[in-house]
């Protein structure tokens, strides 16, 4: 090999490496998704299901046609917002597990528009403002506890989730209840509902609320001074403090922004998801349940970036929509809960940094193990000979 060939090869290698590392985040998310689906497949085969058939049903149910795509997007709508809640706070260096509770409060607050008569357009905006405000109020209390008393936000937000759950149930059953049908809250009046975007599906204009909020957050975090401060405080709190960034302010700000997002998520479900346009207190808030927790998985796979979250939310919305089809598909249908198992496995895998580098490491460990077994067997032979 001549010398010029050698340098060219190394340059090519370097180029390939750079491309690969540039792709790293997206590739790792993809890899995590694949591993998560594999874990799901293994569990399904242990329980005697046919994973291949189940996943075929899931994919068909998620992206098999315009109706399916619309319903996946409709499932993605609240997930985008709750994922943003988690990721804004993570960018600021904090774990906000409270999207679930903030979303409940937002949902309940948006029901209040049923008491007003307003022209369409304004009515939706009032509902969104109510919901965003309620979410932000519910989000700021853990932040204040953290700033003033040093309470870990992980514990306080989780406690707030449970408190919000019982408070929302109480409000749905006794306060904003529909007097004629006590199992549900008042329905949102037609003038405050988000119109359906694709006829005969449950995809409504509410999805534009989510997309707009994602773009606003992107602009705010990456193109303004305040956003820079938030991200700097998250990357290195000590350096940020020396740089004159007030960490308490960024903490409060990130929780308020997050609360706004989670509150809006509640509103998009209550005001923008046909056919109910109400919360069922009797059934334990079924439409709202777990949307906040699923949002954390979306945020992780979306790499805590608003644009990544938009893509990841469509994937998870597809999982939810397809899971609904999967549970009626084939001779032995797979329950919807399998989808959450897959999500959990994906998040678990996402927590491993530089996932791709693990493969050589695992191979090395495997070789070590084989070598150790060989040595042991050889020792056994020797002892046997002696």
């Amino acid at each position: 090999m001549s010398r010029s060939e050698g340098t060219m090869q190394s340059r090519l290698l370097r180029g390939a490496h750079r491309t690969l590392t540039g792709l790293h985040p997206a590739l790792e998310s993809l890899l995590a998704a694949v591993v998560g689906l594999l874990v799901g497949a293994i569990l399904m085969s242990i329980y005697g299901f046919d994973p291949w058939k189940a996943y075929m049903g899931l994919v068909k149910g998620a992206f098999g046609g315009s109706y399916e795509i619309a319903s996946s997007l409709s499932r993605a709508t609240p997930l985008i917002l709750t994922a943003l809640t988690f990721s804004i706070c993570l960018r600021a260096g904090m774990f906000n597990i409270g999207a679930e509770g903030q979303m409940y409060m937002g949902g309940i607050a948006s029901v209040l528009v049923a008491y007003f008569v307003l022209p369409p357009g304004l009515h939706q905006i009032v509902g969104l403002i109510f919901a965003a405000f309620a979410g932000a109020v519910w989000g700021i209390v853990p932040a204040l506890l953290k700033v003033t008393r040093g309470v870990s936000e992980v514990i306080s937000t989780i406690m707030f989730n449970w408190i919000a759950r019982w408070l929302a149930l109480y409000l749905a059953i006794y306060v904003v209840v529909d007097p004629r049908r006590p199992e549900k809250t008042l329905s949102i009046p037609v003038s405050a509902r988000f119109p359906v975007l694709v006829p005969r599906t449950d995809l409504s204009y509410a999805i534009f609320v989510s997309i707009a909020f994602a773009l606003v957050i992107y602009f705010l975090l990456w193109h303004t001074a305040i956003g820079y401060e938030v991200r700097a405080a998250g990357l290195n709190p000590t350096a940020a403090r020396y740089g004159g960034i007030r960490s308490k302010r960024t903490m409060l700000l990130s929780f308020i922004l997050g609360g706004l997002g989670a509150g809006l998520a509640g509103a998009t479900i209550v005001m923008g998801l046909p056919p109910t346009y109400a919360i069922y207190g009797g059934g334990g808030l079924p439409q709202l349940l777990n949307m906040g927790f699923d949002g954390m998985a979306v945020a992780m796979v979306g790499r805590n970036h608003p644009i990544g979250i938009l893509i990841a939310a469509v994937f998870f919305g597809g999982l939810n929509a397809g899971g609904r089809v999967m549970q009626f598909y084939g001779a032995k249908p797979v329950p919807l809960e399998m989808v959450r198992v897959v999500m959990g496995a994906i998040v678990l895998v996402m927590s491993i940094p530089e996932l791709i580098r693990l493969f050589p490491a695992i191979k090395k460990q495997g070789e070590k193990l084989i070598g150790w077994m060989r040595r042991m067997s050889r020792r056994g032979e020797k002892e046997g000979a002696a």
């Binding site: 569990l43 329980y47 774990f95 597990i97 506890l145 008393r149 040093g150 309470v151 870990s152 992980v154 514990i155 306080s156 989780i158 406690m159 707030f160 449970w162 408190i163 019982w166 408070l167 149930l169 109480y170 059953i173 006794y174 777990n290 927790f293 699923d294 954390m296 998985a297 992780m300 329950p335 809960e337 399998m338 989808v339 959450r340 198992v341 897959v342 999500m343 959990g344 496995a345 994906i346 998040v347 678990l348 895998v349 996402m350 927590s351 491993i352 940094p353 693990l358 490491a361």
Partner: protein
């Protein structure tokens, strides 16, 4: 409130204390070594489910042992990711919780029951007859264990090694302690105890598995740890306080007069947790390297 009411309240509080105390004490060992596991909630749920199933086949003791095994196995996954693979502890914990929520709901459907599984009477752990009513022997375990762990952490070489791994891993590494290994062992030990607590809930206490059986107990146990400042004896006290308020909530619900709506009573344990934790913080100090993977320079 009659004397009998007080006794039954105390009895329920002691029973509710057990899973919190076991989980919290296990987590204290893990956190002393530097691993913060918020997947405890998921471990409780998974081991309650697995323990109940195993108890159906092999009796209550097998159920408890299987619960411990499941807890240890899940904690092993958590620990490997967060020691050797330098993972993000919070995210792994969130993943474990999501996985457990899905898996237990899925498993309950596979059993054919609509959302819950009854543990057969024969598979439930026996209870002692005492002047206070039927008491589970596990209460004794939960009362003794914190003292043992306190002695282990404060008075033994192992305790010192754990503390070094959590406080200053660089120095401990130089002194010849294998940081990753000791952290792994500590986290697995914590998982085994949480698994025991989870299996206790289904096999020895409530006799039923639902998909919300753990009901935030894993997180309340974390709150106990925060409240105690990594002192097992204070954690036991915290677990009793939280157990008492859970029992109080259950007791108020059974009152015929219904002084406050049931929803607010159910809120009580979480509200108290929040109040106690916000009151207790400030004087508490945690290991320096808590939550951070150890990387050799």
């Amino acid at each position: 409130m009659s004397f009998n009411d007080v006794l039954s309240l105390l009895r329920i509080s002691l029973h509710a204390m057990v899973p919190l105390a076991l989980t919290a004490v296990g987590e204290i060992v893990g956190e002393t070594a530097g691993l913060f596991n918020i997947g405890l909630e998921g471990i409780l749920l998974l081991s309650a489910f697995g323990g109940a199933l195993a108890a159906g086949y092999g009796g209550p003791v097998v159920g408890l042992l299987v619960g411990m095994g499941i807890g240890g196995a899940v904690a092993l996954v958590f620990a490997v990711i967060n020691t050797y693979w330098k993972g993000t502890q919070m995210v792994t914990g969130i993943g474990i919780n999501l996985f457990a929520m899905g898996f237990v709901a899925f498993g309950l459907i596979q059993l054919g029951a609509p959302g819950f599984h009854d543990v057969p009477n024969a598979a439930e752990l026996f209870k002692w007859r005492t002047p206070m009513g039927l008491m589970s022997p596990m209460i004794l375990v939960a009362l003794v264990l914190p003292f043992l762990i306190h002695w282990l952490l404060k008075r033994t070489r192992v305790g010192l090694m754990l503390k070094a791994a959590g406080e200053m891993p660089e120095a401990a590494d130089v002194a010849g302690i294998n940081i990753n290994r000791i952290r792994l062992l500590a986290a697995v030990f914590g998982g085994v105890l949480a698994g025991l607590g989870g299996a206790y809930m289904s096999v020895a206490w409530l006799g039923v598995v639902t998909k919300q059986l753990s009901a935030g107990r894993g997180f309340i146990a974390l709150a106990c740890v925060v409240f105690s400042g990594l002192n097992p004896l204070l954690a036991l006290l915290g677990a009793f306080i939280f157990g008492f308020f859970q029992a109080l909530a259950e007791w108020v619900k059974t009152l015929p007069s219904k002084p406050i709506p049931g929803e607010f009573v159910s809120m009580l344990p979480y509200l108290i947790t929040l109040l106690v934790v916000s009151g207790a913080i400030g004087r508490v100090r945690f290991p320096k390297a808590l939550g951070e993977p150890y990387k050799r320079e």
